[in-house]
């Protein structure tokens, strides 16, 4: 029970800090929006194309701003050596890891809530249930992204080349959920039945569970000294 308390404590601390400082929210949103705008100009996307382009474009927007969020999550702990406060506490460090994943996912969900409607508006796509399900599918895959990303970010933020290293490690590792996200949302936007893409959803769920478990086991080694 106290393990979950620690997870909640860490996530709550991150959320509270963000609410006060609003350091991240604006940068994540603006960055993701910028990517949409670039796509808008680069590909001249129109209504029927949104079903084709939308999934990939949204995934790119979220993963790139996701990298910003992951870097921020640990930079804030490295300042003032705050992470030492966490490391010297009598807690299971994997609880800290899960707390960080949780807060990152919540931030990404918040970005989604704003960005998916904005994308629909920018590309003249109707607001309907399928759009909402698309957001949910993206979130499912972003959990996996945050799971692996938090593990890697714990390590890369301790280096000088962190901006390059985190994407280099994370994007190849995240290939399965990138493909799953694009396929799932693509089928959803095109209105196809669940059976057509069910296997992708199960892949996402499996990926999320497997790598959350692996990261829980490995996190101590990532953050140790």
């Amino acid at each position: 029970m106290s393990y979950l308390r620690v997870v909640g404590l860490v996530a709550a601390k991150d959320l509270r800090t963000e609410l006060r400082s609003r350091e991240q929210a604006v940068s994540l949103l603006v960055f993701a929006l910028l990517i949409l705008v670039v796509f808008h100009f680069a590909f001249d996307v129109t209504v029927p194309d949104f079903t084709a382009f939308g999934p990939g474009m949204l995934w790119v927007a979220f993963t790139f701003s996701g990298v910003l969020a992951l870097n921020h999550a640990f930079r804030i702990e490295r300042e003032q050596d705050r992470i030492d406060g966490i490391l010297s506490a009598p807690i299971d460090r994997s609880a800290f890891y899960l707390g960080k994943v949780l807060s990152t996912v919540i931030f990404m969900a918040a970005v989604e809530v704003v960005l998916v409607p904005l994308a629909a508006i920018l590309f003249n796509r109707a607001f309907d249930g399928r759009l909402a399900l698309t957001a949910a599918a993206l979130l499912l895959n972003l959990v996996g992204f945050a799971a692996v990303g938090t593990l890697f970010a714990a390590v890369t933020t301790a280096t000088r080349r962190s901006e390059m290293l985190l994407p280099l490690l994370l994007f190849p590792a995240a290939v399965p959920i990138a493909l799953a996200a694009v396929r799932t949302t693509g089928h959803l936007l095109a209105g196809r039945p669940f059976e057509r893409f069910a296997h992708w959803v199960w892949l996402s769920v499996a990926y999320d569970l497997i790598f959350l478990a692996v990261a829980v086991l490995l996190f101590d080694f990532a953050i140790d000294e």
Binding site: V6, L9, K13, R16, R20, D84, L87, S88, A89, E225
Partner: protein
């Protein structure tokens, strides 16, 4: 109780710690009995911070043994229990500047499995001379206040071993004096290891002085009978020889 009442609080045997190929600690032997107050001296780069980090279980020794409260700190010891009994007031405050004092204290207390109520928080802040400041964000605090808040954070879980790394840095005379008075009060009944250059402030707190130089302890004696000047001489003893050549060998040029 673990380790038996007679077990020393801290026992380091031939502890070595490497960082990037350099031995920051190169064979440290130190035994500290429960209730002792150690003043840890040494030049910058001598390894004081590394030693404190090893003691605080933030860094693992590359070689050697560290027994904390009689229990091994490598495999086999109950790390969580050991961390519970430690308190580390580091060079940095570990405080989240956008959160209030109360939120910071609750967070760290929560990590220690504690759920202090409002009265307990207020009492903790009172004890370090910060009454009525619980709802203020930490970024409005001065350096001295942040240090005292950090001390409140450390004391909340009532640690048996207090480790302090240069706590007087950045404090003016008055602030340093206040901190010293607080430490004197709260270190009673606890084991204390304090690293600092501010010998004048720290000496009244200590029962024993150890000097670290080049990753090894080069002096270790009780403070009884030692003056501030004498201890400062010990501190310098640990300093490396000044560069033979070079324009600054005799100190900075006067205008």
């Amino acid at each position: 109780m673990t380790g038996g009442a007679s077990a020393p609080a801290v026992r380091l045997a031939r502890v070595v710690r490497h960082y990037g190929g350099v031995a920051a600690l190169d064979g440290v032997n130190l035994t500290v009995a429960a209730g002792e107050s150690i003043l840890l001296l040494g030049a910058n780069g001598a390894g004081k911070t590394t030693l404190l980090r090893v003691l605080a279980l933030l860094a693992r020794p590359t070689a050697g043994d560290y027994l904390l409260f009689g229990e091994p700190t490598r495999r086999g010891g109950d790390r969580l229990e050991q961390r519970r009994r430690l308190g580390f007031l580091a060079h940095q405050s570990w405080l989240y500047e956008h959160l209030t004092a109360e939120e910071n204290l609750r967070f760290h207390a929560g990590l220690h499995g504690l759920r202090p109520d409002g009265a307990a928080i207020e009492a903790a802040l009172d004890a370090v001379g910060l009454p009525g400041r619980r709802a203020d964000p930490v970024r409005t605090y001065s350096r001295g206040m942040q240090q005292r808040l950090a001390l409140a954070r450390v004391l909340l879980h009532r640690p048996d071993l207090l480790l302090l790394d240069e706590p007087f840095t950045g404090l003016d005379r008055e602030g340093a004096g206040r901190l010293r008075a607080l430490l004197k009060r709260h270190a009673a009944g606890r084991t204390l290891i304090l690293a600092t250059h501010d010998v004048a402030e720290a000496l009244p707190l200590a029962t024993r002085v150890v000097v670290l130089a080049g990753g090894r302890l080069v002096a270790d004696r009780p403070t009884a009978g030692l003056t501030v000047a004498g201890v400062e001489a010990l501190d310098r003893q640990g300093s490396p020889a000044p560069a033979a050549a070079g324009p600054w060998a005799a100190g900075p040029p006067t205008a």
